[in-house]
Subunit: 326 residues, 2 copies
């Protein structure tokens, strides 16, 4: 059985063409693009908290990187480099090989190099730090939303939470939703191209990792504004709950809850001055990614008010996922 250093070399030391010096020294050496700012983010994923301990290691490898890149996407940054630290309870080479395959598949797909890392024994824990680049003053921050801005979201938030409910046997989804929802949960695609397309267009952005309402709340607090969210403008999941005699009201309620408060989506939520409205159609078409205008920013307290299809304000108790607070 190889030692720690052998394990690192065997599974994680792959060519790093974008680095001056990759794994194997005290530090990686990287040459930033002239004039660019760095966008840096770190995420820690813990077995039993962020993923089921028996999660397929290949999918876990993909997701570990994807959720990190999603934070770069939310800043409008280009993804460049990542470091990976991992604690493993045992040396399971088959597990490591699959995890590395998933991780590097995601790295290839989104053009980043894994330039350094650390492995140790311990309860399963994965920590990635991603570094991206963005032109000075151009990053999409959370604090730029202004009253009158439109609120937009990409893709179909809620699918990941529905996928989790499906895997846990808490819901029976009609075809083809199980596959779509589980894919959203296990193989999220960081919206890097969208984030970069929104530079100069969006006034603020955040990725939806804690749930749409919760993350919109974060954005409102940082911007010092309120938000009006219109349920009728959300991406419709009507066919999910059937219609007519087969209409499943419980499933419709669950789907709505997942849309508003389900975590793990990694779609982008962003605000756009009304004058930019027409740009969004072109971006959606070019990226082949649906984009939805779901409400507007309002002046006042940094709260999110949800309006039902009749225009009535409604209450939602569960506003997002908080590892310590709920």
């Amino acid at each position: 059985m190889p030692g720690e250093f052998g394990l690192i070399a065997k599974y994680f030391a792959r060519p790093t063409p974008s680095a001056v010096l990759g794994p194997g020294d005290d530090c990686a050496l990287l040459q930033p693009s002239p004039g660019c700012q760095l966008a840096v983010t770190t995420d820690m994923l813990v077995a039993g908290v962020h993923f089921l301990p028996d999660t397929d290691p290949g999918r876990l490898g993909w997701k570990t990187l994807a959720v990190n890149l999603s934070d770069l996407a939310a800043m409008g940054a280009r993804a460049r480099w990542v470091t990976l630290a991992g604690a493993l309870p045992t040396v399971d080479e088959a597990w490591l090989a699959k995890f590395a395959d998933g991780l590097f598949a995601c790295a290839r797909e989104f053009g980043v190099d894994v330039v350094g890392g650390d492995t140790t024994r311990g309860p399963l824990n994965l920590c990635l730090t991603a570094i991206g680049e963005v032109e000075p003053g151009r990053a999409l921050r959370r604090d730029g939303a202004r009253p009158g801005d439109e609120i937009w979201v990409s893709g179909r938030p809620g699918l990941a939470a529905l996928g989790l409910a499906h895997l846990q046997g808490r819901v029976s989804l009609p075809e083809p939703w199980p596959r779509l929802c589980v894919a959203a949960l296990e193989k999220p695609r960081p919206r890097l191209a969208l984030g970069q397309a929104l530079v100069g267009v969006a006034s603020a952005a955040i990725d939806i990792s804690d749930g749409l309402l919760g993350d919109l709340g974060h954005l409102c607090r940082r911007s010092g504004v309120g938000a009006a969210l219109r349920l009728v403008q959300l991406p419709q999941l009507r066919d999910l709950a059937g219609s007519g005699d087969s209409y499943d009201a419980d499933l419709r309620r669950l789907a709505l809850e997942c849309q508003l408060a389900g975590g793990d989506d990694y779609e982008l939520l962003f605000t756009v001055p009304a004058a930019q409205h027409t740009r969004l159609g072109a971006i959606a078409a070019e990226l082949e990614l649906p984009l939805w205008c779901i409400g507007e920013i309002v002046a006042g307290e940094p709260t999110v008010t949800v309006f039902d299809p009749d225009g009535q304000a409604v209450e939602f108790a569960r506003k997002g996922y908080d590892h310590f607070g709920q």
Copy 2:
């Protein structure tokens, strides 16, 4: 009890004058110095593996950052920014406050800003990523040692391992060694000033986190050279073991084992072309840090040969700490 986001803000979101944007957004934004390369390193510390679970949280906070900065020191980089991710089994605010105090004391002392992070519930695990800067082509790498270069080490490697043996009751140290050894273990000082002073002087460098022999072996393998290590040139710990009637042979043996194979020292081990020999005295004087020439690089297989005071090659079985390999 505050939620996750409140905890982050309360204990870890402090002013970050060196960042364009600090904690609270999807990413931190950093402006690198024009033309510089980045040195990036990540370390994961696990309770029960890297530190005793009941370690004083203030000292743990210091050390968590210090060991990361030590990797920057070993590259000759200037420390700039760090991100911190942590898994905590419970929300213990007194623990968090002390941990943050220790972490930020180290950050102030060495001039870095904590620009971002992540907290989650889970078995106690701390992961830091540090980013430093160095002029292009000037970093101290592990692969530059050449036959004929002298091998040098800073400070007194072995004290940290002796401190651990003392805390574990495995050894009885005479005064004032308990205090010195425990300080080396619990409050290591990353040799950042030394690393920067060695830029343009040293041909290769590594920090001693895995033990002197083990880390010298890493350096040799990366450089494709061998090493001759002369015990008589090591910093003497003779007074530790007493003399004459009070000479403690067991303690002398333990001290030597700790010097050669004890981990957690965070001193710098580096190689220097013989022509630079005289520069080292001035650097040692200016930094008020003892520097020791302990051997020389030789051509041939990347192995470390240890010579006893009589010039005889001797064997050491335990060559360093490997989380999975021993």
